[in-house]
Amino acid sequence: MTFYRDRADGPIHAVEFAVIDNGETVAEVKPIHLKDVPQAKLRSHIKNVLGILNAQFGSDLNVSQSRQPPSLCPICLQEQKT
């Protein structure tokens, strides 16, 4: 679970998910921008995605979080290219 934000406790610009097995990415959930998204909706989004991934890959899936600066947000980078 990757949060794009400047600070560990700061506002979250975007979130994306990746399932990594033995260093290889086996599944990805596209990132979404979180502007205008209330905290409750973000929580339910995270729970929904983790629920689906747990159903697909088993409930022993270890969930960890990482942080990247918003300047590396894949959606923004894609928009800049086009």
């Binding site: 506002p11 205008d36 905290q39």
Partner: protein, 213 residues
């Protein structure tokens, strides 16, 4: 100006509300009839079910209102997440709790080694006395050193070396001169014009040889 804008229901809104109220009453009566069998009395059961349904509707209305307020608050903003909630999701437990009962209040005694007695608390007078004694002892040491005659040490070393045919080890000189190691060492250093010191290896003996010999 329309009635709805004055806070009153329009004809259409009134019809809709009336229809909802009727369907609510039908639903309520149906449930009460099904449950109010045997010993249960019909009307108390009807009001109980009505209260439950109204509470449920009110909760749903409040939840919806809260969600709308949240959306208004979130407008133009990016959300944050509580660390505690994230820790629950990820299973990361970076906080720990401990009981103050487990805190060590006394250091365990060392086994096999007796602890020394605690030094007595010194009063101001004791400290002054100790300092004065220390000063006196330093002065005595200095005066004794001045009373010693290094020339006498050099002469004794010289005569000892001559009796040993101009060459002797440090240990031999100690015996011959009967000087303390410190005095012998100082004498050798101060009278370095008369002899030279050699040491064949790092751990070897120091040999003093008379220059004039």
């Amino acid at each position: 100006m329309m009635d709805s804008e004055l806070g009153r229901l329009s004809e259409e809104q009134w019809q809709l509300a009336h229809h909802k109220a009727l369907s609510f009453r039908d639903r309520l009566v149906k449930q009460a009839v099904n449950k109010a069998t045997g010993n249960t009395v019909f009307y108390p059961e009807l009001f109980r079910i009505a209260a439950e349904l109204i509470e449920k509707d009110a909760d749903a209305f409040c939840d919806r209102a809260q969600a709308m307020f949240d959306e208004i608050d979130a407008y133009g903003q990016e959300p944050t997440l509580d660390d505690d909630w994230l820790a629950e999701v990820t299973g990361e437990k970076d906080s720990f709790y401990f009981s103050t009962d487990s805190l060590v209040t006394q250091m365990p005694s060392l086994s096999g080694k007796k602890r020394g007695k605690k030094p007595n608390q010194l009063g101001e007078a004791d400290v002054i006395k100790a300092v004065e004694e220390a000063i006196v002892s330093i002065e005595e040491t200095i005066s004794v050193a001045h009373q010693e005659d290094p020339t006498r040490w050099i002469l004794r070393i010289h005569s000892a070396l001559e009796s040993e045919h101009g060459c002797a080890t440090f240990g031999k000189l100690m015996k011959k001169t009967s000087l303390s190691p410190g005095a012998l060492f100082l004498g050798l250093l101060l009278g370095h014009d008369h002899w030279h010191l050699t040491q064949n290896s790092f751990y070897g003996q120091v040999v003093v040889t008379l220059v004039s010999a």
